[in-house]
């Protein structure tokens, strides 16, 4: 075994090494550390961090609650705005969100550790299974949600709080969406995604039907008929293709499948990985696939991105993380052809690129990198079957700021909506806001209480 054996193999590392490689990327703060970290917050007025948070969590307030020894109250402040605050604390690219806006960056180039503090407070409350919300009196309204990802779960929770009955349909066997199948293993350890799903659902009034696919088992029209409102939180179920010679060779894989398999594996030792791995793409998915390939024992992992460092969707922090794990990131290279030998990947031919008048153009200069595995991470795409006349644009659902689509009584949110940020936290915000919009629509449509009793 080992890291130098050619081919796509599992068990490259001793068992104990997998465990340490895939442990918490940001270990939780203990109580003392949380107190020290919370002391650094200035309790800013109209805090910039709060404006930068897509779910607008009252950050100065929740941090002050930690510092005064009230982590439970702190968790409620977080959950009031973001019921998936626990996952967001683990996966948010805080370095481009709240922590980037923290005034302590200006003061000493070191922000308050908002993400880790948020995890501290939410961990305390979730460990105690502290439930903060009770359902309003049932309204008799029924809402169908398709997709049990962050958007769908956030919408379901808010609707349940308002007293509406919710049924969630999801094609996958487990709920959580990419929280369960996408997020890098070292960001969400100990089966946290499922624990969080259970925590969210324990409000009651939400039924989840797994293994039910829109477009296969039912259509949007069916749901519109059976329910008072529909929310679509479908995410991006498809993967962009390379459209290159050799793409079908053995060893050319979708990064998202690789990542999903990793998340579902207990030991990680059973996940095969190549000796020399090339990852195509420049986003979070590319970095996650590359880093995890390295952690599985690949000898050499290279990310090839067709534009420059400054264009990468992966944040500075993620790029540094990749570098620190020994991943090489190369820029201005686009794939040209995949070289095969006996039906298996042998390498990849790449072509240098440059920007000409703002347009990406190939220079004609090429080179070959030897590889036995290639991961495609050049973007996910929306798969929209069974949606009928729903208006799409650029391959995604068109919705307004409240999540209203072109169809009456149909709302949408999360990655499947045009113009989103493709982040867990944004999906939560969109789901929550759509639920509020649905609730307002119900209230407006409610038969007025008759003046004469």
């Amino acid at each position: 075994m080992g890291t130098t054996q050619s081919g796509i193999l599992g068990g490259r590392l001793p068992l104990g090494e997998y465990e340490s490689n895939f442990s918490d990327l940001h270990p939780p703060l203990d109580k003392h550390e949380a107190l020290v970290a919370s002391d650094r917050c200035y309790f800013c007025h109209d805090a910039p961090c709060m404006t930068a948070c897509p779910t607008s969590i009252d950050i100065p307030l929740f941090i002050r609650q930690i510092s005064t020894g009230n982590p439970i109250g702190s968790a409620k402040t977080i959950f009031d705005q973001n019921i998936l605050g626990g996952m967001c604390a683990r996966v948010c690219p805080t370095e481009t969100l709240c922590e980037q806006a923290c005034v302590r960056n200006t003061a000493e180039e070191r922000p308050v550790e908002i993400g880790r503090l948020q995890r501290y407070a939410t961990d305390v409350a979730m460990k105690e299974n502290k439930q903060f919300y009770t359902r309003a009196e049932t309204s008799g309204r029924r809402v169908a949600i398709v997709g049990a990802g962050p958007a769908g779960l956030a919408a379901a929770h808010r609707l349940a709080v308002k007293g509406h009955d919710v049924v969630i349909y999801d094609a996958r066997p487990k709920s959580g969406g990419l929280n369960e199948y996408g997020i890098a293993a070292y960001k969400s350890v100990d089966d946290f995604a499922q624990k969080e799903v259970d925590y969210v659902l324990s409000i009651g009034g939400i039924e989840v039907k797994n293994g039910q696919a829109l477009g296969r088992d039912f259509t949007l029209a069916d749901l519109s008929e059976q329910y008072d409102a529909v929310f679509l939180g479908l995410g991006l179920a498809g993967v962009n293709a390379l459209r290159l010679e050799g793409e079908n060779a053995e060893g050319v894989d979708d990064a998202v499948d690789f990542i999903a398999a990793l998340r579902q594996s207990k030991t990680k030792a059973d996940i095969p990985v190549g000796r020399r791995v090339v990852v195509l793409g420049g986003g979070m998915t590319a970095v996650d696939a590359a880093v995890q390939a390295k952690l599985l024992g690949a000898e050499e992992v290279t990310i090839c991105y067709r534009r420059g460092k400054e264009h990468m969707n992966a944040s500075e922090f993620e790029q540094d993380l990749a570098a620190s794990k020994g991943v090489t990131i190369r820029h201005w290279l686009q794939p040209k052809r995949i070289a095969e030998k006996d039906g298996k990947v042998a390498g990849i031919e790449l072509e240098y690129t440059t920007l000409e008048d703002g347009k990406l153009t190939a220079t004609g200069e090429t080179g070959i990198i030897a590889a036995d595995q290639i991961f495609k991470a050049i973007g996910q795409s929306f798969l929209g079957a069974g949606l009928g006349a729903l208006q799409l644009e650029g391959g995604r659902i068109v919705a307004d700021a409240e999540g209203r689509t072109s169809l009456a009584n149909v709302w949408a949110g999360g990655d499947c909506v045009l113009g989103g940020e493709d982040l867990t936290v944004s999906a939560v915000a969109m789901g929550r806001d759509a639920a509020e919009s649905i609730n307002r629509a119900f209230a407006a449509a409610a038969p007025r209480a008759s003046a004469v009793a």
Partner: protein, 437 residues
Amino acid sequence: MADLRNNFVGIKSPNPFWLASAPPTDKAYNVERAFKAGWGGVVWKTLGEEGPPVVNVNGPRYGAIWGADRRLLGLNNIELITDRDLYVNLREMKQVKMNWPDRALIASIMVPCEEEAWKAILPLVEETGADGIELNFGCPHGMSERGMGAAVGQVPEYIEMVVRWCKQYTRMPVITKLTPNITDIRKPARAAKAGGTDAVSLINTINSIVSVDLDNFAPNPTVGGKGTHGGYCGPAVKPIALNMVAEIARDPETYGLPISGIGGITTWRDAAEFLALGAGNVQVCTAAMTYGFKIVQEMISGLSDWMDAKGHRNLDDITGRAVPNVTDWQYLNLNYIAKAKIDQDACIKCGRCHIACEDTSHQAITQFVNGVRHFEVMEDECVGCNLCVNVCPVENCITMEELPVGTIDQRTGKPVDPNYANWTTHPNNPMARQAAE
């Protein structure tokens, strides 16, 4: 190099930093370590009468309050005077003084308010070779219930009486340690002077309940379910101590009476402030109890370096220098006008100055300018109160700038008057109006 040598009522020490009478000076072991670390002198933990010594509680005797990062800001204690036998203390004092002849060794004493009791103990102390005595009229708990400590310090007549006995029965210099648990600190100071004291030292600890245990509903420190008020000290009490020192220093009746400044001294800067307000030297307790004896090294080098930088040659160059600038409110110049000014390069845009001024002061700081988050003082609203300076987390980011004479104060529309004018002559002052009529 600045000369830090101290001569306090004839007691000489290599520097003005003494350890106050408290646990750090409880026995030879501690005091030897303190002298090795560099302390200029010690006031030995308060001695009591001959006979069975007092007993302390066997549960917790300290409570505290903390600032950011659990930095200790205030300490409170319910400890009594020494709980060791008088003769053990005296023997050790004598030995230590012999071992360290260049350091100051003061005996703190608290015995019942009877002439015989004082007459009995003074020769015993004198025999140790101690450089002086300090009368503990300050301990606010336990001992005061037995008619000693603060119970004496709160009655000026008793102070005068006891000081007089001491002056009569010993040749040693007498330092009278005052309790702050009194409305007007000048009264006990005057009484001590009337009794002939050589100096006063202050402050002792302040009556306090430092916190309440909310699970058991009892004050902290809790001893078997009950608590009692304790004595408060540490950084939090420094402002109270500074004021009391200044009050005595500028009181015409006690003017010139040597003062040993105590209360919250933690750094060289604190010490320099006490000296500036009239203290001839300083005593430290809580800072040593928090960080150990080594802190004196920072105090010595800090004071010395500051004196060098400012050209002060010795302690006399500093002592009392700020006293003439302490005055009554009524004599402050009402024609002096200052406005806050924000250094935009230093500002980190936390918004605290804005919300403080907006919610609780004079609505004089912007939050947005042309739709952009921007904090700027509006001179036409600013009354110069200094609140924003105090709440800003960045040092020197907001400063108070004096308006030069003749410039227009945007708030009142009037030019700054060059003449000194105070409340005593102000037209809004009814007394001043009466006097004018």
